[in-house]
Amino acid sequence: MKSKNVFLDYQEIRTILNDSPDLMCRKMELGRQTIQIVFMKNLINQEVLNEYVIKYMQTIPEKHLNYTYLVNNIPIEEIKTENEKNEFISSLLKGFSYIYFLNEKKGFMVNCNNTLERSIEKAETESLVYGPKISFTESLSSNIKIIRQNLNDYNLCTDSLTIGERVKKEVRIVYIKDIANDETLNNLKERLEKIKPDNINDSSVLAQCLEDDHYTFFPQLLLTELPDRFIYSILNGRIGVFMDGSPVAIIGPANFFSFFESTEDIYLRWSLSTFIRFTRIFAMIVSLFLTAFYVATMTYHFELIPSKLLIIIGQSRSQVPFPPLLEALLLELLIELLREAGARLPSKVGQTMGIVGGIVVGQATVEAGLTSNILIIIVAFSALGAFLAPIYEMGTAIRIARFPCIILAGLWGLNGIMISVCILMVHLLKLTSLNKPYLAPLYPFRKEDFKYFLFRLPHHFYTKRPVVNRPKDTIRIRER
């Protein structure tokens, strides 16, 4: 075991930090004491250093100018006295200043960091009509602050962990102690400890590392940037994870249907939210199978088309040189191209892209006879359906899952679709999220949870927390 207090001198620090030009050393001679202040120039808040460290040291009487007094009295909230070498360096790189007493050969670190952070803004990816608009930022401390502010409960735990071999990042596990299920919590912690990468870029990467099944299309953990969603979730017995430097929080365990709920469902009246939720699930199904159905009907089952539609569809197909499968894949690809182009371009250009792509290209392909106009409607409709999922990741999963369905439909017609339904069914049944079944509350069947995940009821029905999360404290509203 190495000594806990490593007192490196300036030269040694310089070597470790590869002669960084930012590394500064300020030597002060105050009376008999020689004090060395080592810091990284760009990382510290100079005002803090000037006002509260240097000025402070200059004003106090000389007899107090020693290690013990300063450690106890320096007017800075965070100091570090015991440091291991690696941590010392990383603290320095975080914006700590190292105050070293040359005579005493002792030193400590004070926090005068100056992290760049965005101000708190409106949520971008998950937008709401009603409800709080505030969103998380890249700073872990302000995220925790937002949560603490809105969830004033002494049982709210924010366990800290550091992840990453080279780039160390702080991770916080947020849960309410007397609600969250212990087994799930331990499971999550175990998984977090097992992760040993060099660096984790973002919490979405962390979420992918934490997932039960890494190969599936479907996301198994919720990612959100909305504090209200986060709070709602952990109050229902889920566990949240923050990572420093990421504005997105991870929530787990999630189930399939929780990707179709939005916190807005709570804010709106129950009738409307029930309707909207059914619409979303319906749109998901339509989005998965509508194009596939078109391909199957056009390729194998023209009998299914009602006689009034038959001529319209037949006419629109008559000039198309491709088989329906290829036609559909081409058009789906086109929509994906448009979407990707729109997402990557600056927003103003993106809008133009959408219009040019959607109207001009669509119109032109139909007029040129490359696709049927019925298919354009269908593809557009299923693209819309995928965007209806409130969690972006689920939307992308549906978009991807659509392609195998289309291909199977093109090969075996309706039977192909049904086979893909079977595969999808088995796949969803096999999935778990933090070892909790993914398809809950449908299977395992928990009818008392339907009001949480499938539809909405007026608020006085919500007396119990959802069973699928297995909360310790199940009662939400105590009956009088």
Binding site: Y300, H301, L304, I305, P306, M418, I419, V421, M425, F445
Partner: protein
């Protein structure tokens, strides 16, 4: 394999019902009608009562051997050697059931819109999804039963449309056929109703054992009710000669259904039937592979693969309509003796044995 997975007692309803309900129902009305004519529905009702009784016997057997499947009961009762021989018979039976379901579905879908496809392609696709389903263990199989039930059950409400084509005179007069013919009908209707025997093998997986009986009775009666309804529908819908020549009367009834947005609903139903037979396939594969595991003491995974490969190879040989009919007929026969007669015998043996043991 996670064979120790545990499911709630009410899942017994879905598991037993879905393993009963499948390919048989499509042709059952005709097969029963050929024997007991206008009183086919009485035959169905009687076989429902018989199954209900057998279920009671099964539960009584299982109650005495709480945590054992029938495979283990056999080994325990007759010894490893002799018990395994009986288990082999049962495994072969379930394999035959699996194949009979697969081939009759493939035949149906080939008739309905897929002429020109090789049988083995259809069999292979069904076998593959079944392997995928069963390899998830019992929890997934139970889930498949449940979801398949949910996906399918709304289809029954579509039957309101053919209601107006029914003619009540066709079923009258009641009890015009002789009792022997009705009993023949009961015998013929058993193939449709088979599947409740799954209970004997799945009992250890259920949580509240004392509730399982209630739910399995419900399942058995629900199936009987559905078969009854569909049989009555078929009798009322077709004239007698028409019903006698129609191989899949239920599909023909469905073909009267018409929606403004879709014509020829029966094509969709024939496709959806994959989802209906999916639990059947999964359960028969699960049970047979479970038996293989028990007999040879190997992992269930290997059992699944071996059986699936055998099934797939069969699909090159038994493909003709007449062969299929013969095959399914034989499966029905063996099924009748295995699950209508044998449980009673087994119950007798177990009671006698326990009395002897109790005395000494």
């Amino acid at each position: 394999m996670k064979s120790n997975a545990i499911v709630n007692a009410f899942m017994a309803f879905f598991i037993i019902h879905t393993s009963q309900f499948g390919m048989g129902i499509l042709g059952a009305p005709r097969i029963v009608y050929l024997e007991s004519k206008k009183d086919a529905w009485i035959s169905v009702l009687l076989s429902g009562i018989a199954i209900s009784f057998i279920t009671w016997i099964m539960i009584s057997i299982l109650k005495q051997n709480e945590n054992r499947t029938l495979f283990e009961i056999h080994e325990n009762l007759f010894g490893r050697m002799f018990g395994s021989i009986i288990n082999v018979v049962i495994v072969v039976y379930f394999m035959a059931v699996h194949y009979s379901i697969t081939i009759s579905y493939v035949e149906l879908s080939l008739t309905w819109g897929y002429e020109g496809l090789y049988e083995w392609v259809g069999v292979l696709s069904l076998v593959l999804i079944t392997i995928y389903g069963v390899s998830g263990g019992f929890r997934v199989v139970a889930g498949i039963c449940f979801l398949s039930f949910i996906i399918f059950i709304w289809m029954l409400f579509v039957l309101y449309q053919p209601l107006q084509s029914l003619n009540l005179d066709r079923i009258l007069p009641i009890l015009s056929t002789s009792p022997t013919e009705i009993m023949n009908g009961v015998y013929k209707s058993t193939y449709t109703m088979l599947g409740f025997e799954a209970l004997l093998f799945l009992f250890p997986f259920f949580k509240e054992k004392n509730k399982v009986h209630l739910y399995s009775q419900l399942a058995v009666w629900f199936t009987t009710f559905l078969v009854l309804i569909i049989t009555i529908f078929s009798i009322l819908f077709f004239s007698s000669k028409e019903l006698e020549v129609n191989i899949w009367p239920f599909v023909s009834i469905i073909s009267t259904i018409r929606f403004p947005f879709i014509e020829r609903f029966e094509f969709i139903v024939v496709s959806i039937w994959i989802i209906v037979i999916f639990p059947n396939l999964c359960i028969s594969l699960f049970l047979s592979s479970n038996g293989v595991k028990q007999i040879f003491r190997i992992k269930q995974k290997y059992g699944i693969w071996i059986i699936s490969i055998i099934i797939f190879i069969c699909s090159f040989f038994i493909t003709k309509r007449v062969d299929n009919d013969y095959f399914i007929d034989k499966v029905a026969q063996i099924g009748f003796f295995l699950w209508f007669v044998y449980p009673v015998v087994l119950y007798g043996i177990i009671t006698i044995k326990s009395k002897i043991v109790g005395r000494s």
